[in-house]
């Protein structure tokens, strides 16, 4: 009997670019982990694609369809956190696994979690904490700029918490509406708050989606006040904007040149060969999910949900980012992150994040939030 996997993700809509990467990654992950056979213990793997159209209701419906009508063994996805949250109860209802990738909301493995949910992608706390660890040093003053909604505020809260132990000082939090177009006022407020602080000064930006505050703030020449801009990593297309920001520091989830391990080597080489581009954020994420699935089923020896849960809790597996581990408490995959500094090379289209330091799983204290 075939092993059926549903990939339920927002193929269409504004995140189309992410979706493509995610699916390529998943397929390459399955291929890599099965050594190209696409079989586990003699059972063939079949992947069914479902489009959530980035709508939670449709996400729910297609996931239910996958579990109920197509009788898949487990499902992977989706891109958007809102859709993911709507999908979680469906997994519980059908008592089948959902491997969340690449949605990042904390609450997926936090308050809304159920035992059928695993996640290979990082959560937003991991991002924020990694950045705090990367930037936080004695005598540093930090201001934040984030979108004024749950994602932004949670991000800053996690960042703030993680910054506490590092000796750095969070002096100002600025929130701007998600649809802000002009950041002059926000930048002005931040400058006013930071300009008289001593020592190194960072403006840490957490911004998802459009708007691109960084280049606009950069245009106002924050150097005048000794303020450096910092932000997390991003997909390659978005990192073209980093070319204007040589020397900028932050922490990233993945950049194809950073991790040194056989899995990543294979991924980069194969991806270059097949698509003539390096793999990106969500390719790596998708691949991790694919590998996790194969490893899990191998370890469990079956596709029975209970067996899989037992097998996967605490399971360690090798991904393009090195070793990941599903934490037993909340099924969140713990993983390394990378402290980077931007280098500009005229030959390369984007700003290159050069590794400063790998932040190992042990370096980051990711809180468990599902209880």
């Amino acid at each position: 009997e075939d092993i059926k996997i549903a990939h339920v993700y927002g193929k269409t809509g504004p995140f189309e670019a992410y979706a493509k990467q995610s699916h390529t990654g998943l397929m390459m992950g399955l291929e890599f982990a099965t050594d190209g056979t696409m079989e586990i213990d003699g059972r063939k793997i079949v992947v069914i694609e479902k489009d959530t159209q980035l709508k939670p209701d449709i996400g729910k419906a297609v996931l239910a369809e996958a579990y109920g009508d197509d009788e898949v063994d487990l499902a992977v996805g989706p891109v958007s956190s809102g859709v993911a949250l709507a999908m979680l109860p469906v997994a519980e209802e059908y008592e089948k696994l959902l491997i969340v990738e690449p949605a990042v909301a904390d609450s997926i493995t936090g308050e809304n979690w159920n035992r059928y949910v695993f996640r290979t992608s990082r959560n937003s706390s991991q991002d924020a904490i990694a950045n705090a660890v990367a930037l936080g040093q004695e005598g540093v003053s930090v201001a934040t700029l984030a979108q004024d909604y749950a994602f932004g505020r949670d991000g800053v809260a996690a960042f703030k918490e993680a910054l506490e132990g590092t000796g750095a000082n969070l002096v100002f939090e600025e929130y701007a509406p998600t649809d802000t177009k002009d950041f002059t006022a926000n930048a002005q407020r931040v400058f006013d708050a930071l300009k008289d602080e001593p020592g190194r000064k960072f403006l840490f930006v957490i911004w998802a989606g459009g708007g691109n505050p960084i280049s606009k703030i950069k245009a106002m020449e924050p150097e005048r006040f000794g303020v450096e801009i910092a932000t997390g990593g991003n997909i390659l297309a978005a990192m073209k904007a980093y070319k204007e920001l040589p020397g900028m520091e932050g922490a990233t989830y993945y950049y194809y040149e950073i991790p040194k391990n056989p899995v990543n080597d294979w991924l980069v080489a194969e991806h270059q060969k097949r698509f003539d581009t390096p793999p990106d954020f969500f390719t790596a994420g998708g691949m991790s999910a694919g590998i996790a699935i194969v490893e899990g089923i191998r370890k469990a020896g079956s596709t029975d949900t209970e067996d899989l849960i037992t097998a996967m809790e605490g399971m360690e597996f090798d991904t393009p980012k090195g070793k990941m581990m599903f934490r037993a408490e909340d099924h969140q995959a713990l993983q390394p992150m990378y402290h980077f500094k931007i280098k500009v090379d005229p030959e390369v289209e984007w700003g290159i994040p050069e590794l400063v330091r790998e932040l190992k799983i042990e370096d980051m204290d990711i809180p468990v939030r599902n209880q």
């Binding site: 493509k20 002059t184 006022a185 978005a238 904007a241």
Partner: protein, 342 residues
Amino acid sequence: MSDTSIKPRIEKVPLSEQFFQKLPVMLVPLLALAGLLAIGNPASWLTLTVAGLAMGMMIFIMASGLTVVFGLMDVINFGHGAFVAIGAFVGFTVLAWLAGWTESPSVLLNLFAVLIAILAAMLVTGLLGYAFERVIVMPVYGEHLKQILVTMGGLIVAQQMIYVVWGPDELHISRPEAFQGSLIFGEAAIEKYRLVAVGIGLALFLAMRHILQNTKVGLLVRAGVENGEMVEALGYRIRRLFLVVFMTGSALAGLGGVMWGLYQETITAHMGSEIMVLVFIVVIIGGLGSVEGCFIGALMVGLLANYTAFLAPKVALISTIALMVVILMWRPQGLYPVVKAK
């Protein structure tokens, strides 16, 4: 005929009434003054004011096409956003080809590159406007609802075509060398690119005013919307005129797209539709069909957004909507209604 001739009695209009009629012109300076009082620090005020005015100019550039198409032609074109996006994509493609010029520090070469990009964008969006009018808009003149739907359909198609042509990734381009960074006066910073936007916006405003005041075009379009049959009976080919005006509106959207794209530096297929609500609000505040009103409205929106974002960020969220509501309460037809709204 002496006492029996027909001469209506004319009384003097009270001063207060006259004052309120002239008030709209004063709104922008008044707002700026209020901003200065509220902010206190002149350097911050200058930074914010220039930035706000420039933002207003960019909004005006995008809205100018809409005020012609929506205000004069009475066509609600939700596809306007698509033209903005396409304009930006075309402009960026051209600028990418001209990378040599944009990366050189020469102001002249930079300007030249931007100019070529703008012309290319306007050409493409103007031509697309031709297709749009012929295929999509023509059957639905006079029917708002259907206009909303078909132009929305056109918007979706255009966005998807951007995906097909340029791929799903967002596009990034840096502003030409000379327009990066700011001019610094003491603690005030004035971004160079915004000055360019102010220049182009002003030029456009004056040109549009000139054309609408000194030619019959504006009149004909308005008359044609009210009673197309009669305009034809007077010997004008109203359909052709509508087409030309629509193409102009689309080309202006293309111009707006390049300007907005260069401001954002990162562009997506959705960039136009994201800004459409704001642009519609500006046109409404200004009064349908009025270039002056649209201009004043855009500047006010730009200024107010910056002042509130500085003074009370929470309020910034609704400042634009609040402004529209207040203006509509005061003048239910907008600042300078040229056309009676339906």
